[in-house]
């Protein structure tokens, strides 16, 4: 018998979404029949909490919520003071523009998340685990509640699970529609019933989190990925992918592509392949040309086509943490949350940047002055430029304002608001200038592709 390796390569490895389209996989019976809850069985019956943490460390699994912090390391930081309960909190607030992978997981594979939560709760010693879910995902709450009830009825939750003496309950809490409540400490405040202002760190949640108790906050996808890590073992998991980008990553692709959707990749494919192959995005819609892309959710720097497909050194850019970040902020971007937003030649970068400044202005919690005032100011300037009332000096002013925000705020939302503006000016300054020198024309047509897809000339002074 021949093994068709090409086929496996083409399809990529699927660890999370493999069973997403099995009929009835949302229900416990089907999920279990398809091999579900194996990892929970293995973990609770044959492993100790410490060995689970070790496996996760070995797997190299990095947080999928945006920052990419190694999950096993985060787990090993959790403080264990005598007699104080600990908590695991699942961050399902998914509100980063362009990101919709967690939604997909929870809608199609709710039991995968519950299974991941059981294993992780056991590893961390969390008897009460919380899912904080974006308020707008109202219908998913019912799906999760049903999965939790089914898991409980089948002995996977509640008291003395599988006779191990471990008790665990999972509670679902809806947010009220604030992006900032996805920031982990704002999330904890909100979960405690307070206004969702990010906390000033330190102390970090691992020491003082929910109700001042040691807490780990992880993204939905991170916690789902714990299931394959335990099933196949950390070392096997780490063999997938490349370098410090191990395992598989979900990418939610959107914008001007033929096939928007959620894709699971193993982080060895190139950006070009991801955009143009039929397996994934299927190329730019309507036969147009690629102009720019935000590869990791609205907070990461936008890249022009030439820097997206190739790094400044002229090497192929790959869909993983290291390659997307190659070149730093000057010529690179980030994998972030995996919200992959593609812009074709007819998209206006100024208008697009305006919609982001508007978003961050609206979502700033308003607690610290650089973010509260800076996001507002940038939005006002961007509006002027977009609507033909800009001045040349506005571009430099924008640059300064974003620079005064970045790094000076309580939480990373300030940076997230500053970076898109900085990157837009850095790479698309011509287009901003054109808007200012041609205020009337800019109301009627777009700047177009210009030279943004031309081979990148690395000018080093």
């Amino acid at each position: 018998m021949f093994l068709n390796f090409d086929f496996i390569y083409d399809m990529g490895v699927k660890l999370l979404l493999e069973k997403a389209h099995v009929e009835g996989i949302k229900n416990y019976d089907v999920y279990r029949r398809e091999g579900g809850y194996r990892s929970a069985e293995k973990a609770l019956k044959t492993m100790s909490p410490d060995t689970i943490v070790e496996e996760v460390k070995k797997s190299g699994l990095r947080g999928r919520g945006g920052a990419g912090f190694p999950a096993g390391m985060k787990w090993s930081f959790i403080a264990k003071p005598e007699g104080v309960p600990r908590h695991l909190v699942c961050n399902a607030d998914e509100s980063e523009p362009g990101t919709f992978k967690d939604r997909y997981l929870m809608e199609y594979l709710p039991h995968l998340l519950i299974e991941g939560l059981i294993v992780s709760s056991f590893a961390l010693g969390s008897n009460d685990t919380y899912i904080y879910i974006r308020g707008e995902y109202a219908w998913i709450v019912d799906i999760l509640e049903q999965a939790i009830t089914e898991a409980k009825n089948n002995g996977w939750l509640g008291k003395n699970i599988l006779g191990t003496g471990f008790d665990c309950n999972i509670h679902v809490q809806r947010g009220a529609g604030a992006y900032i409540c996805g920031e982990e400490t704002a999330l904890l405040e909100s979960l405690e019933g307070k206004r969702g202002n990010p906390r000033i760190k330190p102390p970090f949640p691992a020491v003082k989190g929910l109700w001042q108790r040691p807490t780990v906050v992880n993204n939905v996808e991170t916690l789902c990925a714990v299931v394959p890590v335990i099933n196949m073992g950390g070392e096997e998991y780490a063999k997938i992918g490349v370098g410090r980008s191990t395992g598989t990553k979900l990418i939610s692709a959107c914008g001007n592509i033929n096939k928007p959707g959620v894709y699971e990749i193993d982080m060895t494919i190139s950006v070009e392949e991801f955009i143009y192959s039929d397996e994934y995005c299927g190329g730019i819609a309507n036969g147009k040309r690629l102009k720019a892309c935000i590869p990791g959710g609205s907070s990461v720097p936008i890249l022009p086509a030439n820097l997206l497909l190739k790094t400044a050194k002229g090497e192929t850019r790959y869909m993983n943490y290291e390659s997307l970040a190659d070149g730093g902020f000057a010529t690179g971007s980030m994998l972030g949350s995996g919200g992959f937003i593609v812009l074709d030649e007819d998209q206006c970068i100024v208008r697009h940047t305006l919609s982001l400044t508007r978003f961050y202005r609206h979502e700033s919690c308003g607690q610290c002055s650089p973010c509260r005032e800076g996001t507002h100011w940038m939005d006002r300037i961007m509006r002027n430029i977009e609507y033909g009332k800009g001045k040349m000096s506005d571009i430099d002013l924008l640059w300064e304002v974003q620079g005064n925000i970045e790094g000076n705020t309580i939480c990373p939302l300030g940076d997230a608001a500053a970076w898109p503006v900085a990157a837009a000016i850095r790479h698309f300054r011509d287009e901003f200038e054109w808007h200012i020198t041609n205020p009337d024309e800019a109301q009627k047509r777009n700047f177009g592709l210009a030279h943004y897809a031309d081979p990148f000339l690395n000018i080093t002074a």
Binding site: K194, I200, R361, Q367, S369, P370, H376, G403
Partner: protein
Amino acid sequence: MGDLVKVIIDNIEIMVPPGTTILHAARMIGGEVAPPTMCYYSKLEDSGGKCRTCLVEVSKGSEKDPRPMPKLVASCRTGVMDGMEVKNITSERVLKAREGVTEFLLINHPIDCPVCDQAGECYLQDLSYAHGKDKSRFDFQKRVFKKIDLGDKIQLHMTRCIMCYRCVFVADQLTEKREHGVLDRGDASQIATYIEKSLQNDFIGNVIDVCPVGALTDKTYRFKNRVWFTKPVDAHRDCTNPKCCGEVRLWMRGDEVYRVTGRIDEWGEVKDASNGKPGWICNECRFEKKRVSDWVIEGPTNVNRHSVISQGHYVGLQKPQEPLPKVLHGRDPKILLDIHDVSGVNKPNIHLSELKRPAHSTDFEK
């Protein structure tokens, strides 16, 4: 108390107890080495970290881990480590960031100092003199809110607010349990009338003292005087409220008490009282006791000579001898003209300090 740890701030070495914040260590050194603070208030738990004016550069983390901290840190919320080296005014980065923060705080501030009761004791004024640009780069209409009366004694002029959250902490920590008084997000966020209700509480008047700007002002003093025309005098009374320290500052003009506040120290915070109680004062002392006879006067307040308030300063003043009785052989001079009667300034029978409300133009008609 454990051993002291060593920190170096702007090249000045100081030994402090472990757990001290960078800010407090810098305040121990004093002078310009102490970063400006617009939101931190040592007497209010959880305060600080928000305004970002106190950012400093940590150029050496500690003796054990000498790596510098990559970002500037809020000195009011960052603890010192043994061997830490901090740069405040010796760091270009800090000065630039502080200029940026000052600009941010001002872009939505009305800068209506000429009609603001806080002028002369406003920390935003001080900050912008020290760190502001001389020209605004903000070309837009500023955000404006309606004035709100928080009961009959306090006015909230949200347009001037810098969202330091201090008044929220006062409402939380000094009055009946309240979670917060902030509504909405981002540049639309505001201190909201939630605290209107806690006005029932004896201690809500302290929000006026903690407010670094003129967003919360005393209506019984409103528009009656400029602070630099009044003279601060320390005084106390036997207040029956068990939580009130009874030690205050009277702001006087002649024999009239225009305003009563807590005693503010050099960092703009109320001082602990001599009886050990925190320096907060009750509403009765603040709003109802406006006669000299209500108080035991201790003496004039020591005012920093750089403060505009010191222009009416009279500590250590040598009063020249009254020459008239001497030359008139003991007779009193005869008053030929009572300025109060003939001046066009205000009605002789009106004493501004005794009005229970803001002064109004009609009070000045003759």
